[in-house]
Amino acid sequence: MYKIKHFFQQSWLLIVTSFAFGLLIAVANARWSDEIEWNKTEKLNRLSGALLPEARLELYAEVEIELDKGKKREVKLREAVSRAGDRVGWTFEAAGSGFQDKIELVIALDKDLKTIVGYKVLSCNETPGFGDQIKDPYLREQFEDAPIGKFKPVKRGEGDPEKIDSEIVTITGATVSSEAVVNIFNAYVEKVKGKIEELVQKQKEQISDDKEG
């Protein structure tokens, strides 16, 4: 009994404050959690919005795709819907390792899954002046409207950066980073495409099932 009393004598302040602070934090969190969530999607929206202007993103599905070497990754598929309510494209986030660190991209595909709309860099830690040029139009524009399929990195001089095809001319001095972008595309795009087709197919079946049912 004495011990308990002693304990409270010594520690009441800590106990009281920790409870109070706990409440404080929780309250702040409760207050702001909506904004925080909103901000997260907002950034995605903004980036994808730049790729698919005038479209609204809606979470379509969360799928698991298998990258090479059996690595599995959760991918959030988003559907871009125009004001009119038509589907105009698809976006998803993809990541892979670059020169220094992880590179994260948002990739947009067109609605028929024929071509690539483009990509934006979500986060990259590449050397300023070298690897961070993957944010620049030079590399990005080579992907725009390119047909979905495997891309091949080539050195400058071996290909034409203006020409839209599956050959991607790397940035000199940042070959590694450029190749990393290409690799991300190669790892994700076709798999995601497969998944989307699967899902859309399922949905259609479901709709027709519903109709039938």
Binding site: F7, L14, S18, F19, G22, A26, A30, R31
Partner: protein, 294 residues
């Protein structure tokens, strides 16, 4: 309305509050038990010093944290003042804890350089081309003719942490305004020229020479050296000549008429005042202005 929103907040917050409550009291309990079970007896002074330190553990003192510094300072009080963030306040507090009031045993000691020869007063047989250090030069013979006088390479200057000592025209000269009496210079001088003297007055009289050569040799080596003639000792018994050198007993010094005369009678003018407001020494060979008037 308000109640409802409060209730809503509460409903989302109570879990966090409780978790932290649990965590907090858990740590409180553990630390309480630990602090009692694992108590180690230490010198209470260390604790006290530790208390007054800023407890930043910043390492500015050169120790691994305040605790170490506290321990070190207890053993070596000269380390007081190393705590940068604490500043002088802390130093003072530490001094109080260590009972380090400046002991009131007599007047503060200040250094006196027992030499008054500037470069032009001295005889040189050769140019010195060695290291610019008194200790190095003192190891060679005859860097200057006088073996006893100031070498002027400033080992003492470098030893003084308070910028209170400068070599002026080849002679170490104390700036008594800045000097703290730390004795660093006195222990550094390879020629043992600097003596820590209890300054009973603002200015102290001194025989500013250290030469034990006989009068003739001294004259041949230095224009202003003490030749051991004994005129001063005849005036008052606080002077005594020994080994061809007049010495002043500082503990007995009072500015009196006799000391004044002794000062003026000295043929080389080597008896002079040192201190914060000491008058400029007499030029060698010249009579003092006072004596000239008479």
């Amino acid at each position: 309305m308000i109640l409802a929103s409060v209730l809503e907040l509460w409903s989302s917050a109570w879990r966090a509050g409780l978790t932290m409550l649990g965590l907090g009291s858990g740590f409180a309990l553990v630390l309480l038990v630990a602090s009692e079970k694992l108590k180690v007896e230490v010198d209470p002074k260390i604790e006290q010093i530790h208390e007054v330190l800023p407890n930043l553990d910043c390492g500015a003192c050169g120790f691994a944290g305040c605790g170490q510094y506290a321990k070190a300072v207890l053993q070596k009080p000269e380390l007081i003042g190393k705590c940068v963030p604490g500043g002088p306040d802390t130093s003072e507090q530490i001094a109080n804890i260590l009972n380090l009031q400046v002991s009131d045993s007599g007047p503060q000691k200040r250094p006196i350089v027992h030499c008054r020869a500037h470069t032009s007063d001295r005889t040189y047989y050769a140019a010195y081309e060695g290291l610019p250090s008194c200790t190095a030069a003192n190891a060679l013979s005859n860097v200057q003719a006088c073996k006893f006088g100031c070498l002027g390479f400033g080992d003492c200057t470098r030893a003084c942490r308070f910028d209170a000592l400068h070599v002026v025209d080849g002679l170490a000269t104390v700036d008594y305004e800045k000097c703290t009496g730390c004795t660093a210079c006195a222990t550094t001088c390879p020629r043992h020229l600097i003596e820590m003297v209890p300054f009973a007055h603002e200015n102290m009289l001194t025989v500013a020479c250290n030469s034990r050569e006989n009068g003739k040799s001294t004259r041949s080596m230095c224009k202003v050296g003490c030749i051991g003639c004994g005129l001063c000792a005849k005036q008052t018994d606080i002077f005594a000549v020994e080994d061809n050198l007049a010495r002043l007993d500082f503990t007995k010094f009072e500015p009196t008429e006799q000391t004044e005369t002794a000062m003026n009678k000295c043929p080389t003018g080597v008896i002079l005042f040192r201190g914060a407001t000491a008058p400029a020494p007499r030029q060698p060979g010249k009579k003092s202005t006072a004596a000239a008037e008479k």
